[in-house]
Every structure is written in C-alpha cells, then in structure tokens.
Subunit: 215 residues, 4 copies
DNA sequence: GATGAATGAGTGTTCATTCAT
DNA sequence: GATGAATGAACACTCATTCAT
C-alpha cells in the first residue's frame, strides 16, 4: 500500500503542479489580452482546459490570481536579467547588451508589457501586497551601478549617472515604442514592426543611451 | 418671435453641449481610472451628475464613448503641441522645450497615460475606427524634422536623426517613468514623485536627449 | 386678423389630422410587425416621420394607441363588409362572394391578421375597453342570417345554420392559411403563396362552405 | 466507489433534466401569455422556481429558449397525432375523429395557439432555424391522404381532395374560434365558451368537414 | 484533485414617458 | 402644433463565485 499510494501522491502532486501551471499561463494570456477588468474567469478556465472551479481551488479569487500572474512575470524577467552577467563585459558592451536584452525581452514577451500596464492601472496594488515581488527587488540596479562605475573609472563613461534613471530610460525607450505601437501606427500611418523598422529602432536606442553614458 | 426662440434654441444647444461635455469628462476620468473593461457606465453618469440614459442619447454605447474620449484626448494634446512654436526657437532650446512640455503634459494630465494604455490594450482599434483621430496626424513630427534640420545646418546637431524615432524616445522617457511610477516605487522602494526626484528626472531626460542630438 | 387666423386654424387642424393619421398608420404597421410587446414607440415616431413626443400629445400612451389602431382596423373592415350588399345577390352567390371577400381582404391587409392576434393575446382587453369597437358590432351577422334564410326559403340551402358559426368558419378557413402560412411553409416545405396555390385555396374554401350550406 | 458515484451522477443528471424541464414549462406558459416580446426572463425564472442565470446556462438566450419551447410544443402535438391511428378507422369516422382531436387538443392546450401566433408573428424564423422542427414534418398529411383515398375507393368520399388543404381547414375551423374567442365575444356579446356553445361548435365543424368530403 | 449545477449582484442597454420651451 | 433634452424603471444578459458530490 505504501509504495503504491506514494506513487499516486507524487503523481497527484505532478498533476496539481501541471494544473496550476496551466491556469497561470492561461490567466497570464487572458489578463494580458483583456486587462484585469476585461479578463473572464470562464475564458481562463477554457484556455487552461480545466474546470473553472479549480481556479478557485488553487487561487483564492480573480485578484489573487492576477497577483500570482504578476509575481510569475517579474520572477521570469528577473531571472533572465540575472543571466546577463553584465559585470563580465566591457562597460560599453554591457550597456549595449542591456539595451538589446530589454528590447528583445519585450518583443518576445509582449504580455509582459500589458501586464505591467494593468498593474499600474491599479496603482501597483497587487505588487505592494506581494511580499515576493518586493523581495525580488532587482539586483540589476546594483549591477548597472557597478558597470557605470567601471566605465567612469576606466575613463570612458561620464560620471554622476543614476543607475535607476538610466534603467528607467533604457526600459522606456523600448517600452513606449512597443506598447504604443498600435496607436503610433494608426496615427502616423507607418508600420513600426517590420524587421527593418525594428532594426532601426534598436540602433537608435543604442545611439541614444551610449551617446549619453559615453564621455 | 425670432429673437426669443433663437435665444432659447441657443440655450438648449448650450445645455446639450454642456451635458455632452460633462459626460466626456466623467468618462475620461472613469476610463483612465479603471480601463475600458473596468469602467462602469453607472459611475460615469454619477460623475457627470446626469442620468445614465443620457449617455446613450448622445453616445451609442460604451465603445463609442471610449472612442470619443480618446479623440478628445488626442485633440487636446495636439492643440497644446501646436502652441509650442518650436520653429521660432533656437534648435537646442526647441528640443529642450519639447522634452519639458512632454514631461509636464504627462504630469498634469495623468489620465492621458492610462487612456493611451487602454487604447493600446485594445490594439488601437478605437483609433483606427476614428477618422478624426487619424486626421489629427500630428504636425509635430514635421515640425521636429525642421528643427533637426535647422540644427544640422547650423552645425550644432548631428545628422541622420529620424524625427519619429526621436519623438518616440522623448515621449518614452517621460511615459515609462510616470506610467510605471507605482510599480517602480513598489519594487525599488523609492518615491519617484517628490519634487526633487521629478527635477532629477527632467534633468536626466534633457541630458539624454540633448546628448544624443548635439554633435 | 379674423380671416387670417381662421385660415391658419383650419390649416392647423388639417396638419393635426394628417399627423394623427400618420401616427396611426405607422403604429398599425409597427404593431402588426412586432406585436404590442415588441412594438417600439421610437420606431413608430420614426415611421411616422414625427417627433415621439407628438404621439403622447395625441394618444395617451402605448396601450391607448394600440386601442386606437384596433378600432381603426375594425372600422375599416366593417366598412368594406358593408359595401358587399350581400342581400342584393342570389344566396349562393352571396356566400361565395363573402368567402372571396374575406380571403382577399386578409390577403391585402396582412396587418389585420397580426393585429387580431395581438388583440387576442391580450384577451381582447383593448376591445372591451373600447365602446366604439363594441358599437361597431358587425351588421354582417344579421346580413348573413338573412342570406341564409333566403336560401332556405328558396329551397337551395339547408336549414338550421347559425350565421355566427358560418361567419367564424369562413373567416377561419382564410385566416389559418394566411396567418400560419410561414409555419406551414416551414414544416411542409411547400410554398403556399404562389398564385396557383392561392387559387387552389380559394376554390377549396368555396367548395367547403358551399358544400355545407347547399342542400 | 463506482456504484455510488454512478448513482449520484445519474441523480445530478436527473436534477439537470428536471431544471431544464421546469424552465421549458415556465417559458412555454410565459411566452403563451405574453408573446415573445412581452415575455420576461425574470418571470420565467420565477415560474420555474429557479435562478434566472440558470436559464442562460441551459439555453443561450431568449430567442433560443423560444425556439426550444416551440420545438417541444410541436413535438407534443405530433406525438398525440401519431396516436390517433386514423387508418384503423372507417374513413368517415377517421375524419370526424381528427376534427374532434384538433378541437380538443386546442381546447386543452390553449398555449399552443398563442405560441403558434407568436411563431407566425416572427415569420416562423424560429422554426426555420430549427432542424428538429422541420424534421418532425407531420406524417399526418400522409395519413390523411390515405384516409381520403380509402373513402374514395370505398365510394363514400368525393375525389380530388388535397389532404393539406383539408388539414388546414380542419385546423382553421377550431383555431379561429378559439384563438379569437375573446375578440368575437367582445364584439358579438355572446359567450362562446359555455359547454353548450362548445358542443354546437364541434357539431358545426363536423357538419362542415364531413359535408365536404362525403359524396 | 476535479467537476457540473446553481446563484446574487451587477452590467450595458432599452423603454415608455415627461419636462421645458 | 411641435420638438430636443432628460429620466426612472426595467430589461436581457453576464460575472465572479459557491454548493454538492
């Protein structure tokens, strides 16, 4: 009886994890597509291929689910950022790499942008309530500070650059272009997502940021 | 008879205009606060101090109302941009002024940011359906192009700068900081909206943008 | 002043009559198409090309308007029936003529059928409340009674025929065919409204009714 | 475990069926009383003793519910008609029996008449959209055709009688009397629903129909 | 762990009707 | 006589959520 039920317990756990994962993925897509207010629990269940009741079994309610989705999203980008290893690179290369990473990450994870928007629409209430999210407090700013310091000491970077300001600027340059892509396309009648346009944007952003940090 | 009825007709029209205006303002605030999906027609009516039915008298439905709000928002910023008269200024001053204007406008019209977010969440569908919005196609880009050209000919600006890229960058620098202010504050535990922090941001942005355009 | 205003008064009256007539016609069509519950005051105003408020000026409310429409409809068919002058015809011809008239009248006034349906759905409440309708108490039954009596005395008709029963039967034969035409067509997959089908129906009904009254 | 859950599953299904049945009955009464436009979903829920939301759980919307009610009504009368076994009777008796059945069925199922009216008001759109209704294509017409043929061969019936025409006539004679009973009573000031009046009507109808088919 | 049935409180929208001129 | 503006009550329909098993 012991081994058997043990196995079943493990299997059950695996099922449970898979279900939770399916729900989180489905919820992320739904929230990203429709926002918190527009998301439908029914559709999340359908997307996950699971019974709606199960969502409430694992997550208390819609708000809690949204919070879990946000936490997971932050967890993911933070992990990716950690892999960048900026400190092993030459300062200018490190900055360029960060610009590129940010651009590519937003491009490949468009849901992240709309989730961020939704989180901010609700004044980041869900993040403030999430210990985990606050604890994930990006080490990137510290890392970026070090890179800037290296560059300054090396003589290639200007001094007095606030790493947070720089981080926000790097993010903002990609974010606005991608997040408002539809509005901009509609108003200026120019497709901003062609491969060529995307390359031009990346070049432009590198020019702007490096033009600023380099002496 | 003529003058009298004329006056009353005018007054009636004024009432109608006032009602429509009240609805639009209320709707703008509600949509900005809760997004399209989270906005409540009841609350819009309440905010406007008018009967809910009247909203449907003047605007077809929620979507149409949202579109009207967006149109009005764009109309407003386009008007303000027009007043900048960048061409009368020295090129570097003009660029600085645009950066400042964008910053201040976003700061003073925080609803504009969330409306933009909502519009993009819905892939700018409401703008594409709005002839008016597309027709407002900002003359700012053209103006900015001329400024850049003046600067280049004058010898102070670098060449080859795409005015649209620059415009998006200027907007993005302010936008991300302000739009994600709550998230950033929550995660980095630093209040980004103190007068000091705001001044620092403005200085930083001018440095970044001018560092880029100036030779 | 007298002649002038006199003329205007007449003109006004004419306008008023025209407006009332337009409203009644519009209402008849709307009620016939959608029933009492499904009819929309807005659409009636639109159909009539008049302001909605005017309907309430002339008719108290929707129910009263419906009653007026019914009264008018009955008035009209009663007038047409009166013109038949059945008594001047040979009994068998008179009966045949009544069958034909009923058929053609229903065919040419399809709204009459649906109005009748609506009236009965509401248990003829609107007719009971209408003195006028009750006063129009068809002289047709009396006329029909005389025709039957002539025929009987003449020796061609059977005796003991209740004119009301006969009238109901004549009406019913046309009514069911036309009123349920859509249902019957859908279920039996046979178009009952082709000229040929219509002729066959008329022949059949004459056969049935005359087969009954003739000895 | 298996038997237990099996039983409960069945019970649940029975509950679900009971709920659906309750909704259909309630809807049939409500639609019959007020027509499609006048029927209220709230009242249907109340009549069924169930939550309004459940109606939408089982039936898509009001129109679909109406369609389901119509389907059920047709199903029911078709089943009853099938039980008549007209072919086992002597031709004249068969016809008389059909007249009686139609009369009694309409009398005992007054909702059927108003449902039919509503269906026709909407041009049988709900039937056309219902495959099931069309498939129920009454075998009665075929049966009636055989009866007529028997009678003709036997020498008691006239020839050349279209069974569809006859069916429509039989139905129409009962239908008009019962469906317009209120209007007729109001106008002719005669109660058509006393037992005596009802008997007279049945006699009259048999006379009319048999007078037609018999040689 | 998983699910079908059920629900109370909304949600956008519509309706007949009235006000004011 | 005629009308544009305004409204309260209701309407079909939806939503997040819970019950029972």
């Amino acid at each position: 009886m012991s081994k058997d039920t043990d196995t079943t317990a493990k299997e059950r756990q695996r099922d449970a994890d898979r279900s939770q994962g399916a729900i989180l993925s489905a919820a992320r897509d739904e929230f990203a597509e429709h926002g918190l207010g527009g998301a439908r629990m029914d559709r999340i269940a359908e997307r996950a291929g699971l019974n709606k009741r199960l969502i409430y079994y694992y997550f208390e309610d819609k708000e809690t689910l949204f919070q879990a989705v946000l936490e997971q999203a932050y967890l993911h980008i933070r992990e990716e950022e950690r892999k960048l290893n900026l400190l092993e690179l030459e300062p200018a290369t490190a900055i360029r790499r960060l610009v590129e990473f940010t651009w590519v990450y937003y491009l490949e994870n468009p849901q992240f942008l709309t989730l961020l928007n939704s989180a901010n629409l609700h004044k980041a209430r869900h993040l403030q309530e999430s210990q985990r999210a606050r604890e994930m407090n990006s080490p990137l700013i510290a890392m970026l500070g070090e890179v800037l310091e290296h560059g300054r000491r090396e003589g290639s970077f200007r001094g007095g650059v606030d790493p947070l300001q720089l981080y926000v600027s790097i993010a903002g340059l990609s974010y606005f272009y991608l997040s408002n892509n539809h509005t901009l396309s509609a108003i200026f009648g120019r497709d901003l997502m062609t491969p060529k346009a995307r390359n031009e944007r990346l070049t432009h952003m590198c020019d702007v940021i490096l033009g600023y940090v380099l002496k």
